[in-house]
């Protein structure tokens, strides 16, 4: 077990090092950091001074080492655009992204699981076929198109929900939440739905496949034969056995959702990390881009490693496989 854990952690570390190398290369070789930071009237002496302060006169390996060390301490330098520390910019935006992603995840489970059960139990019915086809549509709709259509229908035409922004927020220490105010909750509806739609279809397809598999097993047949009511067999016995893979997938998709949130955030002008990143891309604000890459990749890699390790704890067979 310990060997397996070490191997997984080592792999994760290698990946993060590769990500850091990418972020560093972007920082170092796209444009000249000094030119980006000084104002235009700065003298050559001031420029040299800044170059020295940033350590840009040293060897590339030394620079990379220093980049990694400060990145692990959460220090990604100063934003070119608004001259503030990148870490505090991201810390400000992080809660709103996390809230969006969490609500979308909950929506996907609350809507996706029942739909999956229905399509598995009522096979061949017209509404099952419709839902099945609907799930292909759900996978084919680009998330920004979903967002735009939701805005067009529910904001522009019907005026039911706000189309942009986050509404009023309440500060709980360093965390700012929109869940406690009416306008904050209203503002969450459309973006979280837009973000959740793809995930809903994923959950639905997975639950359906797992249910079909489980309903064929012997213990279900036995429960039926004992005269347990169909409802109880379906929900108590079968569904419970399907939930493990659903939870795993939800965990692994969480990192993806954070990355995908940047599209939703752009459509809805949601003030999260993703919008910060896209604005940074437009203004070539390299430190923010590099920091976003590192942070999202870290969450992604950490979750995947966590899921892998949890699986190994639950299922000993996995520990002794080749890799």
């Amino acid at each position: 077990m310990l060997v397996f854990l070490m191997k997984r952690l080592f792999n994760a570390a290698i990946v993060m090092l590769a990500v850091a190398a990418m972020a560093f290369m972007i920082f170092r070789f796209v444009g000249d950091p000094v030119e980006m930071m000084v104002n235009e009237q700065a003298s050559q002496a001031e420029r040299d001074e800044l170059r020295e302060r940033l350590g840009l006169d040293q060897g590339v390996v030394t620079q990379f080492g220093r980049f990694v060390v400060s990145a692990t301490q959460g220090d990604f330098g100063i934003s070119y655009r608004n001259q503030r520390e990148v870490s505090s910019l991201i810390a400000e935006r992080f809660p709103s992204t996390l809230e969006l992603v969490l609500v979308a995840t909950i929506l996907s489970l609350v809507i996706g699981i029942p739909l999956g059960v229905v399509t598995a139990i009522h096979r061949g019915k017209w509404y099952t076929e419709a839902l099945q086809f609907g799930s292909i549509i759900g996978v084919s709709l680009p998330s920004f198109v979903v967002g735009i259509m939701l805005i067009l229908i529910f904001s522009v035409t019907l005026g039911w929900a706000p189309a942009f922004g986050r509404g009023d927020v309440v500060d709980l220490g360093w965390w700012s939440t929109g869940l406690l105010t009416h306008s904050g909750r209203a503002a969450l509806i459309l973006p979280s739905l837009a973000l959740a739609l793809f995930q809903i279809t994923l959950v639905m397809r997975l639950v359906r496949a797992e249910m079909l598999e489980t309903m064929r097993t012997d213990f279900i047949k036995f429960a039926r034969a004992r005269g347990v009511p169909a409802r109880v067999v379906q929900f108590r016995h079968a569904l419970r056995n399907c939930l493990m893979p659903v939870i795993t997938m939800t965990g692994m998709q969480f990192g993806n959702l954070i990355a995908f949130a940047l599209i939703t955030e752009t459509v809805f002008q949601w003030p999260g990390m993703g919008l910060l990143f896209i604005q940074a891309v437009t203004f070539v604000d390299i430190p923010v881009m590099a920091a976003y890459l590192c942070i999202v990749s870290f969450i992604f890699v950490a979750l995947n490693t966590l899921v892998d390790v949890t699986y190994a704890v639950v299922d000993p067979r996995l520990r002794h496989q080749g890799h």
Partner: protein, 316 residues
């Protein structure tokens, strides 16, 4: 030489046409109305995109042809709509229908090219990794692991943004399609490589490969002529589904502003432009390009889904 003679004889005894008519694939297609509909739709969409110069009423790339007094006209069936602007015009007086045709052409070409590039890279790396094993295999697969351990959309955005920044301003628009193809293919090849590698490892130990090795056929030829054809079925399904995904990714990048420029819009760029007029009531500028994009991806995905089931022997 004997083998080439046999393969030359084959078509004579078994005409290609009846071979297709007798195939399971044809039978399955005939019994799947959804797949037929998707196939017909896809053919129409692709044909209309490539015939864009003939079908369009104006050249949307030619800024001189745009007439500002025809700006923001609604579709023809809405009051105020004008012939020949079937689906209305955008804020610059650009005909939406023509822009969609040209935009689809850009999206389809970039999608096809990305699939082609990632197929070539993926198949090559997969064959080499699976056939040679050892450290070559290890390095190639680790690189793939690393590429997939970052969310692909984030990677594509970054690659696109960075390459644009590295190019001189004048060349950015001209190279936009190339940058997009690189950005999309960068992570997409890994899936092909993994599939082909796994299949190659199985095929490698089979007798026909050993026989070819025994008579000193070069490894490159064994991989291309003997192993590759046996791995193509799952690759075909993956490539179809990835074509849809590539179009989606291209549209997303263009929508976010790191893709095709407004002067040569793809569908994603058109949606980006239309999105700015969402609240002005000019819904047609965004709705029609969005609908076209969805139909395109949907028809590809339905075909891919059908192909996966039709080629899966377990489901027969």
């Amino acid at each position: 030489m004997a083998s080439t003679e046999i393969s030359k004889d084959l078509p004579a005894t078994m005409p290609a046409k009846s071979r297709w008519r007798d195939s399971d694939l044809w039978w399955s297609l005939k019994h799947s109305p959804l797949a037929i509909a998707a196939g017909v739709l896809l053919v129409v969409l692709i044909a209309s995109a490539f015939l864009a110069p003939l079908l369009a009423v104006q050249d949307p790339y030619d800024l001189a042809a745009l007439e500002l007094w025809n700006a923001e006209l609604p579709p023809i069936w809405v009051e105020g709509g004008q012939w020949p602007y079937l689906l209305g015009t955008d804020i610059q007086g650009r005909d939406v229908f023509s822009a969609i045709l040209y935009g689809s052409r850009a999206s389809i070409i970039i999608g096809l090219a990305s699939v082609a590039v990632s197929l070539v890279v993926g198949l090559t790396f997969g064959l080499i990794a699976g056939y040679s094993g050892g450290w070559v295999d290890n390095i190639l697969m680790r690189v793939g692991d690393i590429l997939l351990s970052i969310p692909t959309i984030l990677m594509a955005i970054l690659v696109s943004a960075v390459f644009r920044e590295l190019l001189p301003t004048g060349l950015r628009d001209a190279f936009a399609p190339v940058i997009l193809i690189v950005a999309i293919s960068l992570a997409a090849w890994v899936q092909y490589a993994r599939t082909v590698r796994a299949l190659t490892m199985v095929e490698r130990s089979k007798e026909y490969v050993q026989a070819a090795r025994l008579i000193k056929v070069r490894p490159g030829k064994i991989m291309r002529k003997h192993i590759l054809p046996n791995t193509l079925t799952p690759i075909l399904v993956a490539a179809t589904l990835n074509f849809g995904l590539a179009i989606l990714t291209e549209a997303t990048l263009s929508f976010l502003g790191v893709g095709m420029p407004p002067t040569e819009p793809s569908l994603g760029t058109l949606i980006r432009i239309g999105n700015e007029y969402l609240f002005s009531g000019s819904w047609w500028i965004v709705v029609f390009p969005a609908a076209q994009l969805c139909l395109l991806v949907l028809s590809v995905n339905v075909l891919g889904d059908w192909l996966r089931d039709a080629l899966n022997p377990k489901l027969r």
